[in-house]
């Protein structure tokens, strides 16, 4: 099943998307993957959205008094509390009789997988009608590229430097998609700014979910990853092609793989195209390949392909 055949009810036409811009004039770095993820999400979700953005890149660049880059209602949440603030907004609006709206959060690594994980877990547990979008740039970028729970093995960050003894991050990405799925969440999906139509389809589906949705969007960061600003989309696509990221969905207790690469693209090309991996040695690359292979063996065995 290829990408364009899935979910015919959510067939996306680029021309059919709204012209309206709800995230404009912001101060994100040139080529920022996260800002694209946010911009596209609000295009799909529309003006009746309450956007909740915790401490992180997107809030830092979008709400600097008197420059307000969000064209729809938006609020900065407490750092750990994106999901609980979303729950509060949904409950408050419900109690006030406000209908036909989206409560959508845009959190980065920290706001999702680390400091924000507890609140996210609670919101899923309550099945609150919210959409939680994690823009994954694989480190705490806003504070200057420190290691996060979503930093991949071997990546150099300011708190996991690449030196003689340790060569970048020694831990693996927290499997956030699987973690929220293990909660029995109503709908979860992984996405990438390198596969925008797939992302847009998943946003369209999240609109309709009567419960909690989680979208995990792979969003390259030129500054933190060390690649050209123009390459953001290509890097994101390469990550999926070489199997270091995957496009999948979880709903009704079932995992579905949306994109199954026939032969993987070059992991070496992907890694050495970014400064944060340039220090890796052959053994490191082999280890990363082995991790990828093990993961994909399990995916292909256990998920619907």
């Amino acid at each position: 099943m290829n990408l364009s055949e899935q979910r015919p009810e959510h067939k996306i036409s680029i021309r059919g998307l709204s012209d309206r811009e709800f995230f404009y004039g912001h101060k994100a770095c040139p080529g920022c993957g996260g800002s694209l993820a946010l911009r596209l999400a609000l295009k799909v979700l529309g003006e009746r959205s309450y956007a909740v953005v915790p401490a992180g890149c997107m809030s830092a660049v979008g709400f600097i008094f008197p420059q307000m880059a969000f064209g729809c209602n938006a609020i900065i949440s407490t750092f750990p509390g994106t999901a609980s603030m979303l729950s509060g907004i949904a409950a408050g609006a419900r109690a006030l009789g406000i209908e036909d709206f989206h409560a959508v959060g845009f959190a980065g690594d920290g706001g999702t997988a680390d400091i924000g994980l507890q609140a996210l877990s609670g919101a899923i547990d309550r099945h609150d009608k919210i959409i939680y979008i994690c823009y994954d740039n694989e480190a705490y970028m806003n504070t200057g590229v420190q290691k996060s729970g979503l930093t991949p093995s071997g990546a150099r960050t300011t708190t996991s430097p690449a030196g003689k003894r340790l060569r970048g991050a020694v831990t693996r990405k927290k499997p956030m998609f699987e973690i929220v799925a293990a909660h029995g969440i109503d709908y979860a999906a992984t996405a990438s700014v390198g596969h925008p139509l797939d992302y847009l389809r998943k946003l369209e589906h999240a609109r309709t979910v009567e419960g909690t949705s989680y979208l995990h969007v792979f969003a390259p960061c030129p500054v933190g990853w060390g690649h050209e600003t123009a390459e953001t989309i290509a890097v994101a696509k390469n990550a999926v092609d070489c199997g270091l990221w995957y496009l999948a969905a979880y709903e009704d207790g079932k995992f579905v793989l949306n994109h199954n690469p026939g032969e993987f693209g070059s992991i070496r090309d992907y890694l050495f195209g970014q400064n944060r991996f340039r220090h890796l040695q052959e053994q490191d690359v082999s280890d990363i390949e082995a991790q990828r292979d093990a993961k994909w063996a399990r995916i292909r065995r256990e998920w619907s392909v």
Binding site: I14, H26, P30, L40, F65
Partner: protein, 104 residues
């Protein structure tokens, strides 16, 4: 409002009474531009453009404006010159040119 707009007549608050109550302010209120960030700018060659809208879709800043008829236009007040549009254009219809050629 279809897009946040620049408020050219904005006067920064001075007296306490000029400030909003709470931390609440109208959405989509812009005061300054991002043009000065650029050293190169995208230029669309209209005759080569197939109007596929991929550049419009993928601009992280949303500065490419589409019209039903006619060429795509770029809001150079807010373009940061990242080059994604030129890189992703299938027709190679966008070139990144030296900002210095365009004066201020």
């Amino acid at each position: 409002m279809s897009c946040p707009v620049r408020n050219r007549s904005f006067i920064p608050p001075v007296a306490l009474g000029d400030y909003p109550v709470g931390t609440a302010f109208p959405a989509g209120h812009l005061v300054d531009t991002n043009a000065a960030w650029r050293s190169i700018r995208p230029v669309i060659e209209a005759t080569a453009c197939s109007n596929c809208l991929i550049c419009w879709l993928l601009c992280p800043d949303g500065v490419i404006q589409r019209h039903d008829r006619g060429a795509l236009q770029i809001d150079y007040d807010y373009c940061k010159g990242c080059g994604i549009c030129a890189r992703e254009c299938r027709q190679k219809a966008i070139s990144m040119e030296n900002e210095g050629n365009y004066g201020k």
